[in-house]
């Protein structure tokens, strides 16, 4: 037994997986690609001592940023609309509108300036509204 298993987090990592899959889906636009992203994120999280939601989001963003446009087949209207966005806009929309992150947090996770985040978020939002006729 190593030290990691004694410091079992509350709530356990498993309880955070549905929320992680939700956010990953917004970034990846496809169920299979999203779960591949979640798998990679969880592998990192398990090797990490800290297992908080904030840390998971950071790891998810890192995994996604390394390969933001991996092959995918969107099957729903929302997935297709998100898929049509440039990766930068999709990241901003996913983190703020789906993940509920503050602008400052989202900008930090994506490694961009907050003004750039606000710009990409606005463009992404406009494009989604037009596409989904919401």
């Amino acid at each position: 037994m190593d030290v990691d298993s004694i410091r079992e987090p509350v709530p356990p990592l498993l309880a955070l997986v549905p929320r992680l899959r939700r956010l990953a889906r917004a970034l990846a636009c496809d169920a299979g690609a999203a779960d591949a992203l979640v798998l990679k994120t969880l592998e990192r999280a398990l090797a990490d001592e800290e297992k908080s939601w904030a840390r998971l989001v950071r790891q998810l963003c890192d995994c996604w940023s390394a390969q933001p446009d991996r092959r995918r087949t969107p099957r729903t209207a929302v997935d297709a609309a998100m898929d049509a966005l440039p990766a930068g806009q999709r990241g901003a929309v996913a983190l703020v509108l789906v993940g509920g992150l503050r602008y400052a947090e989202a900008a930090e996770r994506l490694g961009i300036d907050i003004a750039v985040l606000a710009d990409r978020l606005a463009r992404g939002r406009r494009a989604l509204a037009e596409r989904l006729a919401a």
């Binding site: 956010l23 889906r25 606000a118």
Partner: protein, 105 residues
């Protein structure tokens, strides 16, 4: 009343404005039905996105992911560590046997 730009309206919807600018937007909203309609369109978009992604969160966790988490990292690095530990244990056992055998001779 100042005109409210797109980014400002979104920042208002996202709760990102400070109290002064928030008051300005609220005042503009009270006086401008077109602005209210824009805000309402954005609210609908957010609700639509939420509903779509909430459905993903409600799905059962795929067994592959559940097994990974419950296995506490049966990941590549975890397996590699276990193989190393087993190899070290095997080597230690071989030394002990060799020592006993050497002692018996």
């Amino acid at each position: 009343v100042k005109t409210v730009g797109e980014q400002t309206l979104f920042a208002f919807a996202d709760g990102e404005l400070g109290p002064l600018r928030r008051d300005e937007v609220e005042q503009a909203l009270a006086e401008d039905p077109e602005l209210r309609a824009r805000l309402e369109r954005d609210r609908r978009l957010r609700a639509f996105l939420s509903a779509h992604y909430d459905a993903v969160a409600d799905e059962p966790v795929p067994p592959r992911l559940e097994a990974l988490v419950l296995g506490g990292g049966a990941s590549r690095s975890g397996r590699r560590r276990r193989v190393l530990v087993q190899a070290a244990a095997g080597l230690a056992a071989a030394f002990v046997i060799a020592w006993i055998v050497a002692g018996a001779l």
